[in-house]
């Protein structure tokens, strides 16, 4: 049991739990039955409406969309990570001239919806002579908006290391940038790998906005397909399933790495400081959230 809320139940509690279990399962079954009935009434269950999804041409088309999603996501993650790293270095810099603009950028981007950035790339940039290809009208806004999140992740990685690490490096005669390069950075990167992966899942979700720029990623392909075969529900459910498979795999991966790192714990990486313990507790939230951890704001 993962919750601190109850200890192991006694015989009476066990009986009560059994009763509630049965009731819950029955209620669940009734709900599913009602949903299926609603589908059946409207003829959405007819085999003919699902059969196309057993055929290859349909899947070939959707796999094409999946390829588009993968391409957009990989490009966006690469760009956002690079930009995020630069921003994070700027934010921990000793020079105010670097620190301040990076901070303003991160805070500003956080309060602008991605879709607004996409519309800006679609309708504003061309007017000023910058007409990007479709793919980039999607990828660039995603990279801009996610770069702020990646920056915060990297920065929280730097901050999660105890100050002793930097001090020890200084005692060995390292300059600050050397301490960053040889001591802090390698350790920090290891710690934020799970958060980076869950952020990637967030980017995959962002690429579904290809539907507004008409870039042929998964959701846009689904829209086109549904317009063509009129199997609206079926198509979007299959699409949803594909997104679920990708992102579930990513979030499991993030959690697995997180768990392994915490097992490896003190031996490989230095023992977690209090700040990290606070982070660790809410880690399950951080690891699956595409909002990304903002430990600087979480005053636990």
């Amino acid at each position: 049991m993962t919750s601190p809320l109850f200890d192991s139940p006694g015989p009476r509690a066990r009986r009560r739990i059994r009763t509630v279990t049965v009731v819950a399962v029955l209620a669940g079954l009734v709900l599913v039955a009602l949903a299926v009935r609603q589908f059946a009434i409207n003829g959405e269950l007819a085999a003919a409406r699902w059969a196309p999804y057993g055929s290859w041409p349909m899947w070939r088309y959707l796999l094409g969309g999946l390829g588009g999603t993968a391409l957009a996501a990989v490009l966006a993650v690469a760009l956002a990570m690079l930009a995020g790293l630069v921003l994070a270095f700027a934010r921990v810099s000793r020079h105010l001239a670097l620190r301040a603009p990076a901070r303003v950028y991160v805070e500003a981007i956080r309060v602008v919806p991605l879709l607004l950035l996409i519309y800006f790339a679609m309708f504003a940039l061309p007017r000023y002579g910058l007409d990007l290809p479709l793919l980039w009208k999607l990828v660039l806004p995603i990279a801009v908006s996610r770069s702020a999140q990646f920056a915060e992740i990297f920065r929280s990685g730097f901050r999660s290391l105890e100050s002793g690490q930097g001090e020890a490096a200084a005692a060995l005669g390292m300059r600050p940038h050397q301490a960053m390069r040889y001591v802090i950075f390698p350790q920090a990167i290891r710690r934020v790998v799970p958060a980076l992966i869950s952020q990637t899942a967030g980017v995959v979700k962002d690429t579904s906005l290809g539907i507004v720029v008409s870039y042929a990623e998964l959701l846009e392909s689904g829209k086109v397909l549904a317009g063509y075969n009129r199997l609206l529900i079926q198509t979007y459910l299959v699409i949803a399933l594909l997104y679920f498979a990708i992102n579930y795999a990513l979030s499991r991966l993030a959690r697995a790495i997180d768990a392994r790192q915490r097992l490896a714990g003190p031996g490989s990486v230095s023992s977690p400081p209090p700040a990290r313990r606070g982070r660790g507790r809410s880690r399950s939230a951080a690891a699956t959230s595409d909002a990304g951890p903002r430990p600087d704001r979480v005053k636990a």
Binding site: L5, E44, V111, V112, Y119, S251, S289
Partner: protein, 214 residues
């Protein structure tokens, strides 16, 4: 810069819709999240499994997909509300998974000893949850809840993709007529920033209210 006056109405309507979407989605999301969290920390396994399944399902599928499924899919199975309500419901159910994650993190952050002490004092499961655990959990997660709410505000923009005229869509339409993209989109951006600042301020205020007096 002519003709701005005619468009202020559209802009105001968009801003109002964004605010309404945010408020309704917030109320819906928090309500659902409380129920889901109750499921997730419940000793009954099927209920716990349901809570987990909910969070995984909504979090791993993009909001844009939920929006098209709700807006175009539900009418096909004979269920329909208005466009605005449907968009708000999809956003609420999607964001509920994030609120639920945050709430659970808060509950887990309260030490097991707190419950044990409450139980030792003779409080039941529900009582110790309501009187001891939740107040402490809430204090710990006000900040993250504020962040999720800002996230929710940002996500209401996606309603534009299914045709709700909120701030982003309003900016879009005004730009189609005026062809003045820079001031229009920046104006919308500033509007979002102001709304986000208001949420931040609300968060700070709540945090001060909940703080333990020293």
């Amino acid at each position: 810069m002519n003709g701005w006056g005619d468009h202020l109405g559209t802009f105001a309507e968009g801003a109002l819709n964004t605010v309404l979407l945010t408020v309704f989605s917030f109320a819906g999301a928090v309500t659902v999240a409380v129920v889901i969290t109750a499921f997730r920390i419940c000793p009954v396994r099927p209920l716990r499994a349901f809570g987990t399944a909910y969070v995984e399902l909504f979090q791993n599928i993009p909001l844009a997909v939920w929006l098209v499924l709700f807006v175009f899919g539900l009418p096909a199975v004979g269920i329909s509300f208005g466009l605005f309500t449907t968009a708000a419901a999809a956003t609420a159910l999607y964001m509920a998974s994030y609120y639920a994650e945050t709430l659970r993190a808060g509950v887990n952050a309260v030490g097991a000893g707190q419950t044990e002490a409450a139980r030792a004092l003779g409080l039941g499961f529900g009582q110790s949850l309501a009187a001891v655990v939740l107040p402490q959990a809430l204090r710990a997660i006000v900040q993250p809840l504020g962040n999720v709410t800002i996230q929710l505000l940002m996500n209401t923009a996606l309603a534009a993709a299914v045709g709700v005229v909120e701030l982003t869509e309003a900016a879009n339409r005004i730009n189609l007529v005026l062809a003045e993209p820079l001031p229009v989109y920046i104006g919308a951006g500033v509007c979002y920033a102001v709304l986000a600042l208001m949420i931040s301020a609300g968060t700070a205020l709540t945090e001060r209210k909940l703080a333990i007096p020293r």
